[in-house]
């Protein structure tokens, strides 16, 4: 394992794993707080259409590397999708869920069609659907570093204000906070996070990386700030562990990371339930503690 760390590819994979593992749960905490845990899934579908559109643009421009514009395309589509969804949520559109469903399914269908028009195959989309961390370049690392920095600086730096808005929007209005701007920050951060995480776990599992560490942290703490911090730590551990295992075993990294997360959630949930049960049966022990 130590020898493997000398390999540039392994170094790149682990750097990306740490960055994505730390940043995805930051935005996930706000989505869970707002009870929009599945938003990442939806934006991920839209991002896939962006990948294909970028591919098509690269092909039309005659670029040597056809998928050079795939990630920029995904960023643009994901941000536009997130903004549309946020506008619909804000306006309280009666059929918002139906419109969102159309947006999500339209996104993945458009992705499949565009990749075909660009001369690619659905196999080309697999790397984006399930992740392709084993092909990251130093350019990918630099892009991931920049986007993770944006997520961490805004997501943690604005934590008080974003907490206020996602916890009780009506009260946030009464304080004079720029509620609509802050809501849009959450939506755009979600879009950026999905695009960053796409390389590690793929758009189909991207939501899991944002939500599962938060769900585990929730079982361990009763504070918003501590939940976010613990989720970041768990995200990093899960991503690095998953990637490390796949270095020696022929397993799909994205899927392994998510399975590890779900297994951890089950173990912690059962453990927390047993602890609560023990405390209920031993009231004196709880009092003395």
């Amino acid at each position: 394992m130590i020898a493997m760390l000398q390999e540039p590819l392994v170094q790149r994979m682990l750097i990306v794993a740490v960055l994505v593992g730390a940043s995805a749960p930051v935005v996930g905490t706000y989505l869970v707080q707002r009870r929009m845990a599945l938003l990442g899934d939806g934006i991920g579908h839209v991002a896939l259409a962006g990948v294909a559109a970028g591919w098509l643009a690269g092909s039309a421009a005659g670029l040597a590397q056809q998928d050079a514009l795939a990630v920029p395309g995904a960023i643009v589509f994901a941000i536009v999708g997130a903004v549309v969804i946020e506008r619909m949520r804000e306006s309280g559109t009666a059929a918002a869920d139906v419109v969102m469903a159309i947006l999500f399914y339209g996104g993945i269908a458009l992705g499949v069609l565009l990749i075909g028009i660009a001369g690619g195959s659905n196999a080309n989309l697999l790397g984006y659907l399930f992740g392709s961390i084993s092909t990251v370049t130093w350019t990918d690392v630099a892009v991931t570093l920049a986007m993770a920095a944006v997520i961490l600086v805004l997501g943690i730096g604005l934590r008080s204000a974003l907490f206020a808005v996602t916890h009780d929007q009506e009260f946030a209005y009464s304080t004079g906070l720029p509620v609509k701007v802050l809501n849009m920050v959450v939506a755009v951060l979600a879009a950026v996070t999905i695009t960053v995480s796409m390389r590690v776990v793929g758009v189909l599992l991207v939501s899991a990386l944002m939500i599962v560490p938060v769900a585990i942290a929730q079982l361990l703490t009763g504070s918003f700030a501590r939940t976010m911090t613990a989720a970041m730590g768990l995200g990093m551990v899960l991503c690095v562990t998953g990637v490390s295992i796949t270095l020696e075993h022929d397993l799909q990294p994205g899927a392994l990371i998510v399975v590890l997360g779900v297994a951890t959630y089950i173990v912690v949930a059962v453990g927390a339930a047993l602890v609560r049960r023990h405390r209920r049966r031993s009231p004196l022990a709880e009092t003395s503690s």
């Binding site: 707080q33 009870r35 845990a37 009506e170 009260f171 946030a172 009464s174 004079g176 700030a225």
Partner: protein, 251 residues
């Protein structure tokens, strides 16, 4: 301190408020009353900037209700309107009251301010507890502390005593008296006057989005205080002054 003039609000194409006016002066407590669907909560949401009126003028201390003009406003919603999916401590919830238009982070002295607000409501020992695991009365006290931590000149409360225990009602009445003495203007939505009756200076009754009564608080609300009462009366169409002697001279 708080002045609302001819406030009209439409939501989803339906007119909810048809020109509501209200004044709350320094050191005055105004009870906003009315049956379910009368428009009380919509009016309160307009007062705190959560809903934009289609017509009318709302001023706090003479200044328009712009985001920067809400610095002296405290608001207590009826319930946690967005009980989030992530746990939050009482201290975290109360500290969010220290934010404002140009203040996106809590100030350095926030801990002392939060502790002071919690102690005022008698829940200082709950600061580090998960707010969603508290009783209804304790949660409501946390929300009141979140408004008080702003040291508001104007306090707007939407049914702060609905479904809360007697201890919380007494603690709230105590805090309300202090705020009034300190000169705050207070608008409070109530179904019944209860523990705060002695602090009420003026009552405004809404019905179908219109003010049907504005004046001294009734001595005994009786059946009119019952939740769901629609406040329809046989002589409700008469001007207030003409109702004297008809056996009903209040809301």
């Amino acid at each position: 301190m708080l002045s609302a003039r001819d406030v009209r609000v439409s939501l989803g194409g339906t007119r909810i408020l048809h020109g509501v006016s209200l004044d709350a002066h320094r050191g005055e407590v105004v009870a906003l009353m009315g049956g379910n669907g009368s428009g009380k909560s919509t009016f309160v949401r307009a007062l705190v900037g959560a809903v934009t009126p289609t017509h009318g003028d709302i001023r706090l201390s003479g200044r328009p209700l712009t985001p920067s003009g809400r610095a002296g406003l405290g608001y207590v919603p009826q319930r946690l309107t967005a009980a989030g999916g992530v746990s939050a401590t009482v201290a975290e919830v109360v500290a969010s009251g220290l934010l404002g238009n140009r203040r996106l982070r809590a100030p350095r002295h926030s801990r002392a301010r939060v502790a002071e607000a919690l102690d005022t409501l008698g829940i200082g020992d709950l600061a580090h507890r998960d707010v969603t695991r508290l009783s209804g009365g304790q949660q409501q006290r946390a929300l009141i502390a979140r408004a008080l931590v702003r040291r508001p000149d104007v306090l707007v409360l939407d049914e702060p005593m609905a479904g809360v225990d007697l201890e919380s009602q007494v603690a709230f009445a105590h805090a309300l008296g202090h705020l009034k003495d300190d000169g705050a203007a207070i608008v409070i939505v109530l179904h019944e006057l209860g523990a705060v009756a002695r602090h009420i200076d003026q009552a405004v009754v809404l019905e179908h989005g219109c003010v049907t009564y504005a004046g001294a608080p009734p001595a005994d609300m009786g059946v009119h205080a019952l939740p769901g009462h629609d406040h329809e009366h046989p002589h409700a169409d008469l001007p207030t002054a003409d109702r004297t002697g008809l056996g009903w001279d209040g809301p």
